[in-house]
Amino acid sequence: MNPILEVKNLRTKFTTHDGSFYAVDDISFKVYEGKTLGLVGESGCGKSVSSLSVMRLIPSPPGVIESGEIIFKGRDLLKLSMDEMRSIRGNQIGMIFQEPMTSLNPVFTIGDQIEESLKLHKKDLSGKQIRERAIDMIRLVGIPSPEKRFFDYPHQLSGGMRQRVMIAMALSCSPDLLIADEPTTALDVTIQAQILELIKKLQTELNTAMILITHDLGVVAETCHEVAVMYAGKIVEYGTVEEIFNSPQHPYTKGLLNSVPHFETGSRRKKLETIPGIVPSLVNLPPGCRFSDRCGFKTDICSKQEPKLETHGGHLTACHNPVGAP
């Protein structure tokens, strides 16, 4: 099966007053049709920058994609002109943002906003067809009485409803790839579950490939087929969701999985396990392995040589001392 999106050795550099650094440093991943890749990691590890790089929406300055290839359906997105890129955004690659409360324009009705990408990309549709399609999209994302809701303004909707509208906007042109950047972070737990169910259902129906960015491992386990764990701008572990959850190799992945709180009835109260230390500043990284100063399995080589992504226990891990099955 050919991947619909293949990112090869992508490096995105940011220049700030404190110096320049790679927010995304030499990462590669593939996304297949109808499948979901989860990008997991702590805040600031480069998840969002990776996805914005794919869309070429990195704010520049300060950011610039320095090297790498982003092959989408056989074309390298980094070589396209701004106009060609605009015809792909919203049309072939859709994006759902983190903050449904602020991602909608407050002065337009949600109908206008769902129609927007259709108007931009499907020039052959008549005004009436566009309106019908937009109403269908509102219905598809599970908003009741779509003909009426079409004329609502964002402030009249709840957070969950707004996220549904964002999903409708992203999917209105039936994109081949959907990038969901923490789509449920701003929502409460019950709504999160609904939105994830919806995304999963629509993905199966429309056979869309998806990149799901999250720091919630529960979400990953439920939604993703493959997972890439990121740490300080690098992918440290990459495999199928079963491999990652059943036999994490990298101490960081293991630490993340251990940090998930368990609520078992009858068990004695245990303290929540955490990973000691903090994420290093990208401007001032430790030598060798970036995780070395927080790692419990550190050996001499770790602070001398940066580990490469190699196969350990059936999938790719960047570690000198893979920890094996838990």
Binding site: N91, S103, T109
Partner: protein, 299 residues
């Protein structure tokens, strides 16, 4: 699908449509009696100006009479000036000039201010530096000096008044729009529009501009006040419209000599006409800002 549109029509007639910002603003102004009165006065002036320019009322405003300076009487409500011209009719025609100055200068100044402000705020960086440098330079020369200089260059006449006021009074709006665009360009809805494939121009003028449009509207209503007052000052200084024209500035200018002879009606008519329209615009602009600015909505 025809079913969908049919139900849509049905629903839109059955239920109340959600209120847009503008519909909400209009209903707020409707509740404000004072603002409504002022709006009515503005419309009344505009009607007078329209009818006068069509020659339907006060048509013989230029009719002279050998016997000048007749005091107010049933024949001449506000008396006559030194050439025996009816002051009331001249005042009515003055409305035409005053409002046309507000309108035409707005048509010049608002596009300049909005475009430069939008470009500066949206793109930032070097473009912003250049535009800020440009408008601070323009703004460092007092407005009146610029207007006087332009009027001297272009010669006396209503056209030079339009151009002089129009090209000198855009800086304030430009600043406001620049600041708003800087604020809005990093909002997520603009990023979301970008992710949908909207171009720079589309993001600037279709997505952000409607969010700051209330500022332009308020500025538009305030500009009439500036236009009317500046015209009066220019005419008084002898730089405004041609002397024969019935503008309020010219009338006040004429009146400075007449006052010594006890002729007060020309001054009173022009000042009174100006007072009511400026006051109405002021109150109306205030009400408009209250109605459009959600942060002030606690009345």
């Amino acid at each position: 699908m025809t079913v969908a549109t049919a139900t849509m029509n049905q629903i839109s007639t059955q239920t109340q449509m959600p209120k847009s910002l503008w519909a909400d603003a209009i209903s707020r102004i409707k509740r404000d009696k004072l603002a409504l009165t002022c709006g009515a006065i503005i419309i009344f002036y505009a009607l007078l100006a329209l009818l006068a320019s069509l020659g339907l009322i006060a048509a013989d405003y230029a009719q002279t009479n050998p016997q000048g300076f007749s005091p107010p009487s049933p024949d001449h409500w506000f008396g006559t000036d030194m050439f025996g011209r009816d002051v009331f009719m001249r005042t009515v025609h003055g409305t035409r000039i005053a409002l046309s100055i507000g309108l035409v200068t707005s048509l010049i100044a608002i596009p300049i201010g909005v475009c430069l402000g939008a470009i500066a705020g949206y793109f930032g960086g070097k473009v912003d530096d250049l535009i800020v440098w440009f408008y601070t330079t323009v703004d460092s020369i007092p407005d009146l000096l610029k207007i006087i200089a332009l009027s001297y260059v272009m010669g006396r006449g209503i056209l030079s008044v339009y151009v002089a006021i129009g090209f000198t009074t855009w800086v304030g709006l430009c600043r406001l729009i620049r600041a708003e665009f800087m604020k809005h360009k990093s909002r997520e809805y603009v990023l979301a529009a970008n992710a949908l494939g909207a171009s720079h121009t589309r993001r600037m003028f279709v997505h952000i501009l409607p969010n700051v449009f209330h500022i332009i509207l308020i500025n538009f209503s305030l500009r009439f006040i500036i236009g009317i007052k500046t015209e009066v000052i220019l005419s008084y200084l002898g730089l405004g419209v041609e002397p024969g024209q019935p503008s309020w500035g010219i009338m006040i200018d004429d009146a400075k000599q007449e006052l010594a002879q006890g002729v007060w009606w020309q001054l009173a008519a022009a000042t009174g006409a100006m007072f009511f329209i400026v006051l109405s615009f002021n109150i109306f602009a205030d009400a408009l800002r209250d109605a459009l600015d959600p942060k002030l909505r606690n009345k």
